[in-house]
Symmetry: C2
Subunit: 148 residues, 2 copies
DNA sequence: GGCCTTAATGCAACAGAGTTGCGTGCAAGC
DNA sequence: GCTTGCACGCAACTCTGTTGCATTAAGGCC
């Protein structure tokens, strides 16, 4: 939400060649400023409170950002999409792994971890992408062990 | 749905020590007879049409089967759970990978494929499970290439 | 077999995430 | 500035799954 994120967002939206709207800039800035993947609800909270952006618009903008590879979305077990601004990898396919905390639900990208691509499939099957998700406890949710 | 599946289902339910109900047997038999993971809707269709089992009961039975490790469930991108009878691996943790067809949505277990467990996480993070999903096209959905 | 206890079922109402339809507004091209 | 059509806002909707509660039936006991 600092000017920096807003400016980066604006230039990224401009680069697509499509319409540069306040809503697209703002939602992308929110994603850029987050260090973890945000649910629609979290984005809406911030976008609606500060700028009155409608929840349906948030859904549509998130989808638009994903389609234009300015963001990517992650399916969770809680049946909620989480969105992350695309990293500096630019538009390249979303090939990295993810971590999801079993306690607080936070999701982060493990940008350096890639899934093996050479997986044996039944005959006739064709692989297009491999998704790897590590589940566990994030640093905040790991119980303290200092005095145990 | 053949007697064999029904009988196997009945003995598996009995083995848990909990109540052996028609609904539990029938739903498990349906899962056992399927070669791919079934959505709640698919199970309900078969269970409701043939035996009039209520949809809420189907939800509860599927959850119960999962809790007792007679089935396991897979989260999909379409916000729909898919259920599979647990393989002969018995109650052992659901450690294998899955394949999901991007075209028809079918999900199958890749029983022999396991995800690497030694993944580097940010400091303080703890891993509890690793999920691996291959996406692509199943044999039925791969476009025919014979005459190309 | 019949009785009792309690877990499981059936039904209706509810909840949350996401979608659709349509009238209005505003970005961008001229 | 004026026009055009994409995007927005709002309301109504769909779909998957959940909860509350009265009723049924599994299984232990005699
Ligand atoms: Mn990611
Ligand atoms: Mn499986
Ligand atoms: Zn956490
Ligand atoms: Zn397929």
């Amino acid at each position: 939400m600092t000017p920096t994120f807003h400016d980066r967002a604006e230039s990224l939206v401009q680069r697509t060649g499509a319409r540069v709207t306040r809503q697209r800039i703002e939602v992308l800035a929110i994603l850029l400023s987050a260090r973890r993947a945000l649910t629609h609800h979290e984005v809406e909270d911030r976008a609606n409170r500060s700028l009155g952006i409608d929840r349906v618009t948030v859904y549509r903008v998130l989808e638009w950002l994903t389609a234009h590879e300015l963001a990517h979305k992650i399916a969770g077990e809680d049946r909620v999409w989480r969105f992350n601004a695309a990293g500096d990898e630019g538009g390249r396919s979303h090939a990295h792994a993810h971590f999801k905390c079993n306690d607080c639900g936070d999701v982060i990208c493990l940008d350096e971890v890639r899934a093996a691509r050479d997986i044996r499939l039944p005959s006739g099957y064709r692989s297009q992408a491999v998704e790897l998700t590590v589940k566990g406890l994030c640093a905040e949710c790991v119980p303290a062990r200092k005095h145990s």
